[in-house]
Symmetry: C2
Subunit: 134 residues, 2 copies
DNA sequence: CTAATTGCAAAAGCTTTGCAGCGCA
DNA sequence: TGCGCTGCAAAGCTTTTGCAATTAG
């Protein structure tokens, strides 16, 4: 089944690609850095170079299989594309990443862009939060 | 007047700091990378090292004089804090950065965070847009 | 068989840091 | 004078790239 996705994307079905796709699909935390994926491969005893991880993730992104996020902190985070767009909330205490979706915010963004004479192509919205009580 | 801001931040009034503050205040494009600031210093014939630019910008950020953004593309962009919060729209054709503010979006963000049991500490919203007609 | 793919190591950006000397208060 | 600050160069990190060897179709 994964093979179909790869072929459709015009990519040869190779062991590194299949493995990386599986890791992204089965990870408990769906938000993984290239390094995270690489570590998962090592734990699974797979001989894949870090450079290949980066190359494959970039190809997956271009193929639309994966979405790349640039959260604070310099490194990219990848996430399997499940067809349901959402934004992120990052807890500053625990680092936990929570997904959310607000149709209203989406619509307002589009309106803002258009009121300035532009078409909205993409957007990045990240809320940095803290546990409420304290 | 700049000196006051520096002193209040607990920073000694040194030539590099004053110069960098002036550059940020007077720049035509208020969004500058460390490299941009460095180049501006060179053009002004000031002998300031790039490392110092980074150190000073980080200090300014901590002092609240400047805001740091992490747009796509790996490098940080700094901007003088003028007290008026706003978000950004980046044109993918021209690279132009446009500021905007939507009170409604701000409020919705807060609501989203709280509905998940968190306090909203900060947020990052960037719209990636294209000229409308095409 | 042949072009695509991979691993390794080197290189490339951006940013940070160690350290000796300089300068503000 | 003393501690903070700066410059320079070196190191750190994430990510990219060159190249020869390997592999899918």
């Amino acid at each position: 089944m994964d093979n179909q996705q790869l072929k459709k994307a015009g990519l040869k079905v190779t062991l590194p690609r299949v493995k990386i796709l599986q890791i992204l699909e089965n990870s408990e935390d769906p938000h993984m850095s290239a390094e995270d994926v690489y570590k998962a491969l090592m734990e699974a005893e797979e001989e894949v170079g870090l450079a290949t991880v980066y190359r494959v993730l970039t190809q997956f992104e271009q193929a639309g299989l994966v979405v790349r996020h640039n959260f604070e902190g310099g490194h990219s985070v990848f996430e399997i594309e499940r067809g349901e767009h959402h934004d992120h909330m990052v807890c500053m205490k625990t680092g936990k990443v929570i997904e959310f979706h607000s149709e209203t915010i989406e619509r307002l963004q589009k309106e803002v862009a258009e009121s300035h004479g532009y078409d909205l192509v993409d957007h990045s919205l990240v809320l940095y939060v803290e546990p409420k009580d304290k």
